[in-house]
Symmetry: C2
Subunit: 341 residues, 2 copies
Amino acid sequence: MPTSAATADSGGRPRDGADGAELAAAAMTGDRRALARVLTAVENRTSVAEAALRALYPRAGRAHLVGVTGPPGTGKSTLVAALTRMARAAGRAVGVIAVDPSSPITGGALLGDRVRMQEHAGDRDVFIRSMAARGHAGGLAPTSIAAADVLDAAGFDLVLIETVGTGQSEVEVAAAADTTVVLEAPESGDEVQAIKAGLLEVADIVVVNKADRPGAGRTASHLRAMLVAAAARSVSPGRPQPKRPEVLLTTASTGDGVAELLAALDRHRPGPGAGRGASERALVRAEAQVSAVLGTRLDARLRDPVVRPERDRLVAEVAAHRLDPYTAADALLALLAPGVG
Amino acid sequence: MPTSAATADSGGRPRDGADGAELAAAAMTGDRRALARVLTAVENRTSVAEAALRALYPRAGRAHLVGVTGPPGTGKSTLVAALTRMARAAGRAVGVIAVDPSSPITGGALLGDRVRMQEHAGDRDVFIRSMAARGHAGGLAPTSIAAADVLDAAGFDLVLIETVGTGQSEVEVAAAADTTVVLEAPESGDEVQAIKAGLLEVADIVVVNKADRPGAGRTASHLRAMLVAAAARSVSPGRPQPKRPEVLLTTASTGDGVAELLAALDRHRPGPGAGRGASERALVRAEAQVSAVLGTRLDARLRDPVVRPERDRLVAEVAAHRLDPYTAADALLALLAPGVG
């Protein structure tokens, strides 16, 4: 891509090896190339990511984070594209994190940014990032949330996080957003039915997409009945009224129902200021990120040249079933933090 | 269920509150009720689980752990049932861990043990356990692996671990087994195609199931070509020859091809003794389990009454974006292990 290469060589782009804080500053002032580099660093959990996130984090906390999940084939990408189009038409800057089933060998996300980006090429207020589901040392949820925070800090007002609704880690990502949209499609097999039932419990808004197909109205009625029954089951005195998600119909491919969905998202958006940070979802996200950093720190200590050989020996003993994992872990802890425990 | 209650009250069953070591001893001598209780403890990561796993662990390491994964609708449960039937016919004791999309509210796995168990009711050499994909504090992979270790220690010779192949954590579970079987079905949509391509990379054996459907032979040829191309891409001097998975055809519903699959599994079974424990997969499993215990220990320290209030305060500050996750984590580490770091 000679055009990009030319752009890369022109001014304003932080030099290679730029530190995370510099990159973060550039990303926050609208440098999309710096933004892309920060996201790559976050995805790979490099030291650049740490410096960048330290700098970006206080600027985040303003965007509306919306998780979009559902079984394969329900039209998640098409709906995300339709929402992006409509929010852009209203003048909002839209960021998308698309967590894709991915290849550990090629390293890339399979569905790819390129296809998704085409429509918005040249629009700097749309930023779409595919992220591989695999290979996140700190866990998929903290990595995706950190990526959403980066887009948030860079000024995107609506951040859509799309994941496939059949994986536990993927569902957690969507469920940690401020608002979680669960997609369903009119028809599907038994295994997908079971997945759907599990997914309903994380939904703030349920969308029956492909509403132009036969059976969509019936699917919506059925879902409403399931949700009423589930809400009734979880009523208990002294506990807050269980939420009952709205059920909406969309045909993402034509745009039908998308305006209504966007309006529903706006109604669900948490208020600004202190209230937002105190929301349960914000706490869940914060906890996931703090835990991920603790895990990273622990890993770094285990890779320390003094500790590493003993760690490798203990793991090999566990692999050979000569030692149980508890004894091995406690031996490592004693090594890492003598006197604590 | 009056029958179970009656059985529960009759002799031989460890009393409620029996410690983990007692339960483990009973499970290893063939008490299926004790085995079920150990698995429940492992799934919930209770203190009973720790004591039980410490006792069971040295007895594990003999079974052949086989992961079975694939996109929804490829017939994983049916194939697992067919493999179970055939291995039983050969006199082998078979354990199954079925990780199901699940409900955090009802707590249970949705597809359920009951349906799966019916055929083998009364056969004490088949033990089938559904496990919810959700809510595993220590992570899905370490929990499933620990459950497989329990069945292994209890004397099951073949342990099948079934997971849906669209979730990152679920794929990890299957990929950590000694042998990983990836199922494909003749026809499927675009999103599923992408999932399939990602899954091939963890496969030791690829099975085109529903081989009686049109296009199965073509799907198998296409897969073989993809695998040859992938192997060619990953050849590099000085590195071991890349594995090239076999591609087999089965029709699990009729049993066609299942004997050939079982033979292929046997050929792939790691040798006994020291070699097995030193295998890369065994090391991956050991590492996952040791890390999970470290995480559990860290969590316990964070819940300590002295540390907890400060932890909650730091997480709230991060949620409000007044503090970044790195600063918060480092403050916690200083509190947990002063002087280390």
